[in-house]
Amino acid sequence: MKKYITLILAGSVALTACKDSTGVPDFNNPSLQDVLGKPLSRLTLQNLVTGFVDAQRASLGTSPATYIVFGEVLARDAYRTDASEPRYVNEFLNGTPDPGAFSGSGAFTGFTRDVRAANTILALIPSAPASELTDEQKAATRGFVRTQKAIDVYRLVELRDTLGVAIDVDHPLGDPLAPFVCKPKVLAYVSALLDSGLTDLQAGGSAFPFVLPPGYAGFTNPSTTFAQFNRGLKGKIELYRALDHQSPTGASGFQSAITALNASFISTDPAQISKGVYYTFSIATGDTPNQLIDGNLHLNPQVSDSLQPGDRRGSKIVTLAAPATIQGLTYKANFRVTLTDPIALLKNEELVLLRAQAKVGIGDLAGALADVNYVRSAAGGLAPLDPFASASAAISAILREKRYSLLFESAHRLVDLRAYGRLNETFFKKELAGDVFVKALPQPQNEADQRGGVLTVVCN
């Protein structure tokens, strides 16, 4: 009988084992479910905002900063020669970018992820109880997020150009995909987003209910300084809308750009030349260093060759002892950068040059000259230029200044060369035999796959 008792005991072990708890939590990360569907607290808002701006910084790309490097390679400012990654040469300067590889599909998902992060915050704002966020603080938050989101959408169109951007993406995964909207509509959307952001900011009081990274220093008052940042972005968008021959077309478009720029933090005080919003980098644990540090990144010889003697902006350039040739490309200089150098998101130097471009658009060559000469003097320590002989000469001069003022800061030069129809054999030599002057990156292969290969651009 004893043995049977043992047996029954053993059997009951089997049954009680079943009572052991079965669920296992996520040990490694907080999860989306922890945030969604709960009233937004101020602490969570801080986490989400920091995550959002950090995501935007990460969207510049890593090892190297692909958004900037792709733009600068296509704009003939840079070479990236890497024995183990020849596609920076083969696909950008000697062929076409592969939509299935990091090259053609790159500098994309970061921005769309940022848009999702922005939409998540926007959707959660109404859920915050008044004890956590006042209506004014909610408006300030909305204004901030809308302004920042505009940057991400614009960066997408910078690199994809006429292939369009999907706008209506704030839907659960699994819903039908948002159509690609044509470039004019994208720019109009960005412009309107900035305007609605401005309305929110103006109702947003004098402080954000969250802390921003040090790169936003001087721009932390929603209704004043950050609103000026918003207008700076608006002016940039309006300029490229005008250059793209869109509504508002012609002079009124350029005028609208000038109006917005003048409402921004633009200044012709030499001391204010570099005032602006910056991405900052750090080598503290968990933080991210500047991703332009890259032994394979070199300057296109045009950049070092056409630098005017005495230009203080030449400090960004390191000339090599001897030229080197790799993968059929010869370079003589590199870009000087340290791990903690900030990268400008929008600075006065750029605003003034954007205004010069807009002034050329309305035929105000003298006004454009004044703006160019301000930058030459304040940033480069150079003598003023003589009056421009023509609009074309003015544009050439502005693009030259922009190259040195905004070197390795964004895809600005690619956008300008394209807008002025200068990215071709008339203005540049072919870098390699197969150089076809790639003007934009394709939409990623995964996007095509999910849409049955159809990447139609909708324009109504």
Partner: protein
């Protein structure tokens, strides 16, 4: 749940209902000897057919057994290595002598059917491959997977690279998952052991994943941990190739189960064995690198020739030409004594790498003890292992530090070997200046593993009568290891200042524990009518797997600094996982018609914490039948027809059910941002349903045997990390869906073409073919992994093989008159017909499949008295590899065959866009093993080796020769380690080596 409990309870009650009743008995004694030599056969099992009663022979081959009074009794005698035999003992006889013939083809084996049940191979309903420990050790191997290569029909064992210490993937009956675990389940003496590959952080140096200092990546050239098991301890390995055999292992058995049984003591007197091996690894294959005959030629190839030397450096020989001594010492003792059996072993080995400073050191201790206390049978198996592996730098590299990457851009006239302690700075890598000889001498990559595997079982016999037995088996075990990786890249290395922070240190410390506990009851019933014998087993099993790992990396080291303190840009990651599972299982085996018909049915109900619903039980049933055909032609000794069905699962990975937020820090403020992958809180296991059937035939008086198996594996509810449209802000989403079907067949043919006296020749052939196809896919076809479409990506597409490679396949060109061509006007159509060129677009097509068309193994053993000559060839036909290494050398114009380089670059380039230049057939034949051994004559042994019983000298080699059209280093390669899909990339690997060993083995 409730149903399950009552199911188990009723099984328990069934066991209780029987009572024991012993009839009158008489004793039979006897002796078992080997045919021919008359030597006693030790530890043979003698049993009465149709009852559970049995005995085991002693040291001198004697046994005693009680049989029923007054009837003729049939005894069955079996011993591994001999053909089983049945002997009829008349009613009046009390003594019997039995001789056993040698089973040269190893036809008789015990085949595992459950966690505590086995059956003789003559009845087995599954094609379970059993490999004996002896055949694993013919030629020394770095790890056990290598020892299985070519020996099992249906197993493809792929070596990931040539670096010391292993790294190999076993694939049973094709790819059986897309987004989940790819490894078979490994079980050592009933304890589930980990075969995880933990990434050591090499990517921080090579930037293979293009992210500096972030978490470890799959390109760390990591080793999967089954490498720790000592092949010398293994008694045998059973390979359950799929769900039909492994259903009892539930949600971990979809990729097959590899059951390893270690040795146990038997046979009384202690038997000591000493084996000493000494040998060497040598570079097996080199790329044909260009030598420049003149400065002009080098200049024309685009190289700066100011430090011109009219020499040709053989970088590969200089770098991979080390021939240091490798050794392996095995000591073991085994025996048994009054209810106690023991096996103890020690191993010390070093495999010296062909690159200076690399190597694999392993020490292990094992103690297996068995103790019988009345009706209680206790067993404990323990093993302690330490290994130290240094593998250097290999594989994908974006920092120009991998030796082959450097060689692919450095012309051979420029010397890299240090002169008087000065390492020439490499002028051909831009500012980087890396010299791999400097890295080799100053950069270290040690990986230390300490592991304990311990298991025990207690078998209590409640009941033992002539008609039935009831046993309770409580067993459990733990596999616990820590792996510590450290990479120190000192600041003076030329490549280090590239990022502005010279010097890098990487630490990774990981620990894992896998624990299993099970209790089950086994009831055997032999009715008096002798119509059938029934074996019922039921029980439960609980498992827990916990992993935790901390990774830190820092830069900007002081001179001589080897730790993280005071380093800058410190990154830190922590990863923890916990998986819990619980299952009930039951199985019934019925042996009918004088052991001619076997019917088996079983069910496993399991829940797992990785599933979306951790409380839901999933069912994994199985059923099998085998029939030994009674009437046969004269030349057929035995013919068995078999059919088996089973279902198993592949559990989701930890974390697949969560949608994470990534924690970030920016200027001291922390935040969370959405991750790019979207989880699935409803995820369920992949369900693999397998049906297999075939026959086993023994022919010509056991001189030959043939087994043929056809199978069909259907995997439903595939776990897919499906791509999402990037515009949604997510790149991937975990889903269940789709179906994959693997069909194939396996043939084993063993024959003894010649056997006379002490001379024999045994030949074994295995052949396997598997073809997988994705029959359903709920998402659009997608590409996964790869290095850009130019070098192919894994293509998951309905109607295609899951291991398809998609790549560029020329252009689709459109002409004015509506004609379409692949690349220009089609051949045979004149230009006028085509009309003007309109447009062209790159055509993407599936141009290869990673899975080979078939795999064959040929083993031949010749015995001439004391001399044995053995060989094993493996032939893998088909299977494609993307050879990026060749592309690197072609791009640098550094291959000797410049015409071929030009041709391949033209194919790959924008003119043709044809990826076939580098995605190539990797068929091969390899001489895996060759061994020649000599057993010293007894007389000589007695005179020279005091106390030795027998001494064997052996000369053996592994991977001695490869025949292939593949133009790279080794057609067996996987840059990304063990994977389901992306196992086809050859990117500057550690080159292959061949090994030679001389061994002396003595028994005392």
């Amino acid at each position: 749940m409730r149903i399950t409990r009552s199911f188990v309870t009723s099984l328990l009650l069934l066991g209780l209902a029987s009572t024991s009743a012993l009839a009158q008995t008489r004793r039979i004694t006897g002796r078992v000897t080997a045919e021919g030599s008359n030597e006693p056969v030790i530890s043979a099992t003698v049993s009465i057919v149709g009852t559970p009663i049995g005995a085991i022979t002693t040291d001198d081959g004697r046994f005693t057994i009680s049989v029923p009074e007054g009837t003729t009794t049939t005894l069955r005698v079996r011993r591994i290595g001999y053909s089983p035999k049945q002997v009829s003992v008349g009613a009046g006889l009390s003594e019997v002598n039995i001789t056993l013939a040698k089973d040269v083809l190893e036809l008789d084996k015990q085949v595992i059917t459950g966690t505590a049940t086995t059956i003789a191979s003559q009845n087995a309903a599954n094609a379970v491959a059993v490999v004996s420990g002896e055949s694993l050790r013919r030629a020394p191997t770095p790890t056990i997977e290598n020892a299985l290569q070519g020996k099992i029909a249906g197993a493809i064992v792929r070596t990931n690279g040539g670096a010391p210490g292993g790294g190999a993937q076993v694939q049973l009956r094709g790819v059986t998952s897309i987004g989940s675990n790819s490894s078979p389940l490994y079980v050592v003496d009933g304890v589930i052991v980990s075969n995880d590959a933990i990434q050591g952080g090499l990517t921080t140096i090579t930037q293979a994943s293009r992210v500096i200092g972030t978490s470890p990546s799959g390109q760390d050239q990591q080793v999967n941990r089954i490498a720790d098991i000592n092949p010398a301890d293994i008694e045998d390995i059973s390979v359950l190739k799929g769900a039909s055999a492994g259903a009892i292992y539930g949600s971990a058995a979809s990729n097959g189960v590899i059951l390893i049984t270690t040795k146990h003591g038997s046979g009384g007197r202690p038997l000591f064995n000493v084996t000493q091996r000494l040998g060497q690894f040598r570079l097996a294959n080199k790329l044909d690198i260009r030598c420049f005959t003149s400065q002009e030629e080098a200049t024309a190839a685009g190289y700066k020739t100011t430090p011109w030397q009219p020499v040709c450096n053989d970088f590969q020989e200089q770098f991979y030409g080390e021939k240091d001594l490798s050794y392996e010492t095995d000591l073991s003792v085994s025996g048994s004594n009054a209810g106690t059996s023991y096996f103890a072993s020690g191993l010390a080995k070093r495999d010296a790498g062909i690159e200076k400073g690399t190597g694999y050191n392993k020490q292990s201790l094992r103690l297996n003890i068995g103790q019988v206390v009345g009706k209680l049978n206790l067993r404990a198996n323990t093993q302690i292992i330490h290994s130290l592996t240094a593998r250097g730098i290999a594989g994908n590299d974006n920092a120009n530090v991998n030796p082959y990457t450097v060689f692919s851009s450095t012309p051979s006239f420029y010397g890299l070997v240090p002169v008087d302690g000065v390492y020439p700075r490499n002028p051909y890598l831009g500012a980087n200046g890396d010299n791999p000889f400097q890295d080799r001498d100053l950069l270290s990559t040690p990986e230390n593993v300490n592991r304990f595997i311990g298991g025990g079982s207690a078998n209590f016999n409640f009941l033992s009568s002539q008609r039935q037995t009831l046993d309770a088996v409580l067993s459990g075990g733990i596999d616990q290891f820590t792996q510590v990786n450290k990479i120190v890249s000192p600041r003076q290395l030329y490549f280090e200042p590239a990022d502005g922070l010279p010097g890098t240190v990487v630490n990774r410390s990981s620990s894992q524990s896998t624990a299993t506990l099970s209790l089950q009851f086994v009831h055997k019933f032999f009715p008096a009518s002798q119509l059938f014998a029934a074996t019922t087993s039921a029980g439960f099993r609980q498992g827990r797997n916990q992993f935790s790992s901390i990774f830190t990396a820092g830069q900007n080291l002081l001179f001589g600094q080897r730790n993280l303190e005071k380093a800058t840009n410190i990154t830190a990651f922590e990863n923890n996982t916990l998986v819990k599972n619980f299952s009930y299982f039951g199985q019934e085996e019925l042996l009918l018609f004088h052991e001619r018909l076997l019917l088996t049915g079983g069910l496993n109900l399991e829940r797992n914490s990785n599933n979306g619903d951790p409380d839901k039980f999933f069912s994994y049933p199985k059923a099998a039948v085998s029939l030994r055909v009674p009437t046969l032609p004269r030349f057929v000794d035995d013919l068995k027809l078999r059919m088996a069905f089973g279902r198993a699962g592949n559990q989701p990975s930890y974390g697949q059910k969560f949608t994470s937020l990534v924690v970030v820090t920016e200027e001291g403020v922390t935040g969370t941002r959405p991750a790019l992958s979207y989880g699935n809180d409803k995820i369920t296991p992949e369900i693999s349903t397998e049906i297999e059937g075939g026959f086993d035939a023994t022919l010509f008086k056991s001189r030959a045997s043939l087994d043929v198996t056809l199978f069909r594996k259907t995997i439903d509810d595939l776990i897919l990390t499906a791509n999402t449209a990037p515009t949604t802000g997510f790149t991937t989403q975990v889903i269940n869906g789709g179906q994959l079907v693997n069909r194939g067949y396996e043939i084993g043919f063993n024959v003894t073409p010649f056997q006379r006296g002490r001379i024999d020749w045994v030949s074994r052939t295995t052949f396997a073919h598997v073809h997988g196809i994705i029959t359903e896919l709920p998402v659009p076809a997608f590409n996964s992994g790869g290095f850009g479409i130019g070098f192919g990506a894994a293509r998951i597409e309905k109607g295609r093989s899951p291991t398809s490679i998609i790549a560029r396949d020329g252009y689709d060109t459109t002409f004015a008159n509506g004609v379409r061509g692949s690349n220009g006007c089609p051949v045979g159509v004149d230009a006028a017909t085509c009309g003007a060129f309109v447009s062209r677009a790159v055509h993407l097509g599936i141009i290869g499949d990673v899975t080979p068309k078939f795999n064959m193994g040929f083993t031949n053993d010749f015995n001439f008295g004391p001399v044995r000559l053995g060989s094993l060839f493996e032939w893998r036909h088909g299977g494609y590899v993307a050879n990026l290494t060749d592309n690197y050398f072609d791009s640098g114009h550094l291959f000797a065959d410049t015409a071929l380089s030009t041709k391949r670059l033209a194919m790959q380039g924008s003119a043709q866009r044809n990826s076939r230049a580098y995605i190539v057939d990797a068929s091969f034949v390899k001489l895996r093993e060759l061994s020649l051994s000599y057993q010293l004559p007894q007389g000589l042994v007695r005179r020279t080796f005091a106390g030795a019983q027998d001494v064997r000298l052996e000369f053996s080699g592994r991977n001695l020769r490869t025949w292939t059209k593949y133009d790279g280093l080794d057609p067996e390669v996987s840059n990304n380690g063990n994977q389901n899909l992306n196992t086809f990339n050859d990117i500057t690997p550690y080159p292959p080596s061949r090994s030679f060993f001389f061994s002396i083995s003595a028994n005392f």
